[in-house]
């Protein structure tokens, strides 16, 4: 039972990170139909900023703030430079553009920083842990869960009560009508990217604080998982992204903990097969996006 609870905490910590990343992907996808493969590189940028701040001896709070802002700025620049010219093109065109951007950034990291994994200096308290009865929970795990919850509450408030958030939701349901209502396309899209950068930055801080290292391909695997989480939840649906992230995190952690030893090597395939099975019953994801129904015949 203790093992199960322990793993549940882990599942929430991992699932939360996936959820934040999946949300970042979903915000952009729901508005402009772009599946952004370069989302992982935003994470990597954050990771490197955290590393350099650590080397410069800045206080952790400031490092985190800088790391997250770097991701936001990078996301907005990415939109302005790479994605604006292909904004109205097909999904395939935008997707290929995004992986060209990802490829270029990865090579730049390898050349300008290092092809190898770099250690990130983190404050000592992150590696401490707390006892709850029989459970031993790392501060970094608690931090991840708390941060995720705070971010989700913030996002919910932002999307429901802020003008920019409401504009984004309107654009996600029907961009052309939203524009006719006077919503500026450039502003909404830049805002969506900034938000996705914010989420990627926070996810990067959580990710790095549990691994204490960063490498040029750092963002690739978690963002891949986030794609799957976004589909599992329902592509383009924000609540779906969160649900998909947590479900995927749970699947991975529980498989790692409870799958018999001889099947451990097949953990990823088994996990993904479970995802596919869920999708077979709910082809549009756990919580389908509202825009799916909007098509008029």
């Amino acid at each position: 039972m203790d093992l199960f609870l322990q793993q549940t905490v882990n599942a929430f910590a991992l699932g939360g990170t996936y959820a934040l990343l999946a949300l970042g992907l979903a915000v952009v996808f729901s508005i402009m139909g772009l599946i952004n493969f370069a989302h992982g590189e935003l994470m990597t940028i954050s990771g490197y900023v955290l590393m350099y701040c650590g080397l410069a001896g800045l206080p952790f709070a400031i490092s985190v703030a800088l790391a997250i802002s770097a991701a936001v700025v990078a996301a907005v620049l990415m939109e302005r430079i790479a994605f604006r010219p292909v904004r109205n093109a097909s999904g395939a065109t935008m997707l290929v553009t995004s992986f060209a951007v990802a490829m270029i950034l990865q090579v730049l990291f390898q050349n300008l920083i290092s092809a190898r994994s770099q250690a990130v200096l983190l404050p000592q308290f992150l590696s401490d842990s707390i006892r709850f009865g029989g459970l031993i929970i790392g501060i970094n795990k608690i931090g991840a869960i708390v941060t995720t919850v705070v971010m989700l509450i913030f996002l919910d408030w932002f999307m429901k009560h802020q003008k920019a958030g409401i504009a984004m939701r309107a654009s996600a349901e029907d961009f052309s009508v939203a524009r006719l209502m006077g919503i500026r396309a450039n502003t909404v899209i830049a805002g969506a990217f900034a938000l996705s950068g914010l989420l990627a930055g926070v996810a990067a801080v959580l990710w790095v604080s549990q691994r204490a290292s960063v490498d040029p391909l750092m963002g690739f695997t978690p963002v891949l998982k986030a794609f799957i989480a976004a589909i599992l939840g329902g592509l383009g649906s924000l609540r779906g992204a969160v649900a998909g992230g947590f479900l995927l995190g749970a699947i991975e952690i529980y498989l790692a903990a409870f799958l018999p030893q001889e099947l451990q090597e097949f953990r990823d395939p088994i996990g993904l097969c479970l995802v596919v099975i869920v999708l077979l019953f709910r082809p549009n994801g756990l919580i389908p996006s509202a825009a799916l129904k909007a098509e008029k015949v």
């Binding site: 097909s90 589909i231 097949f266 990823d268």
Partner: protein, 612 residues
Amino acid sequence: MITSPRLQIFAAISAIVVGVVGAALIASMFGAAAERILTVFFITLVGVVGIGIYSGNSGILSFGHVAFMGIGAYVSALLTLPAQLKVATLPKLPDWLATTEMGLLPATVIAMGVTALVALLVGAAIGRLEGSAATISTLGLLIIVHGVIIGWRDVTRGAQSFFGVPRETGIWAAVIGVILALVLARLYRDSRSGLRLRAGRENAIAATAVGVNIPRERLISFVLAGAVMALAGALLGHFLGAFSPKKFFFNDTFLLLAMLIVGGMTTITGAVTGAVVITLVTEFLRRLEGGFSIAGFDVPSVFGTTQIGIGLIILYAMFRKADGLAGLKEWEERVFPKRPPSGSAPALQEVHVSDSLTASNMTMQFGGLVAVNDVSLTLTPGEILGLIGPNGSGKTTLLNMLSGVLRPSKGAAIRGQNKLNGVPAHKIVEHGIARTFQNIRLFPDLSVHQNVLVAALSTHGGEDADSRARAALARLNVAQLAGESAGTLSYGDQRRVEIARALACRPSLLFLDEPAAGMNRLETDALMDTLRGLTRDLGIGILLVDHDLTLINQLCDRIIVLNEGRLIAEGTPDDIRQDPAVIEAYLGRGKPGKKTKPKNRDEPGPATELAG
């Protein structure tokens, strides 16, 4: 059966054979290094067109097909690996496999078969997903297959290199492979299945309405693409001699997809263009990567020049030509465009069906909104029934229910003896019902001829499809536009092509949703003549929705009127014009205090009686 002109197919295939064999001959003059580069290029090209068979025709980007390439490589290599080596390196193989040792050709064929079977299972499972969800699920496929290859150590040596594979892929094996793949891809593109699939890519709802079973066509192309990828994998495995699971993962997926999309996903011309451009750039940059000196300056070696270069090429191509360098048409379609058919067109056949369509108590609820409420109607071949009502009164929703696009919340539609409720949307047309759409739904990147032909091919088992298509085009006076892309036509022509497409299904009942919208008086008059002809000469029954009341009044035998989802009146045009409920629905009740029937405001009056 191939649906495009013979000349185009002939030109395409000759160009493929001449080009590939010619390139191989030239390379053989430059020696072994050039031959190796060309062999790799040919194998890559097989992979690119393999993905193109599925992604290009269905419009769904697939990340998963490189996994099939991996399966093909491993299966074929397991069959060709010398038996002794197998016993030594893979001791846990089952006996029958350990003792098998065959040549490249049978091994490749078996690998393609096995992969096609896997693709069939996978395709059947993920075929229900749409759009980006389908794309990401193929990403899952790639990861799953990669994981299985790594995990299944007894058969695949896990993450380690799978070595000792006989290097049997020479330049001529690659030549045969690439010709096979290119010709297959080219033929599939214009086969019946390929054309239907492309129609589904352009507009799924319209394709379904003319009888295309999109999931089935997708599955066919998915499996075919899987087999071609297995061919690429088998050739690659026997070229390299040793490979690991990493070879069939993201790097190669991205490279192949980049080639396909940069060149133009929808054509073979595009696949070849993209593969050529990116291979040339890669080869050029790879030479620069080690550092070079220019005019006395030493440029230091930069790791990853190639990747950055490819990345920039992709960005440039996508910014400039979002549809790919080769655009949306094959080269031979540009050079030898289809000419409008000469000679007199065949006539459309008369309808010999007299079964009427009876809809009773049709109701459609969207959440709390009742868009159509308890409406009943009958439509018989040979008559024109008008369906009018203010905006938002439920006319289109009613059409959508009758044509299978929407499933009614309540009520039943019966054609002759058959209940239409449970019939899948793509089978409705087999019950003699064809339709057009309020917001035009053509297949914009297909030619006018193909738009109509695909409808003819997908109905009545494709019998006399060609003559039905020509007759329908001639009937609507759009035969001279046959070669144009449908998306480039004027608004009125698009409407006419849409009607022609519906007629090509040889329907006995035709639903037209605002056919005259956006037409001027002259065009509307011509349309009226055409529609009258359809009922008079051919005996087709028409359900006509329009806001042009002149058109409705002059054309219709009967009219039914909807308001706020309810049927408020039914009768001849004369009856309808005098009907107070209709006048009220269109013009309102008039000001209180004026002498026009003030009592209407207080009492239900005749309006509600009619509505009941």
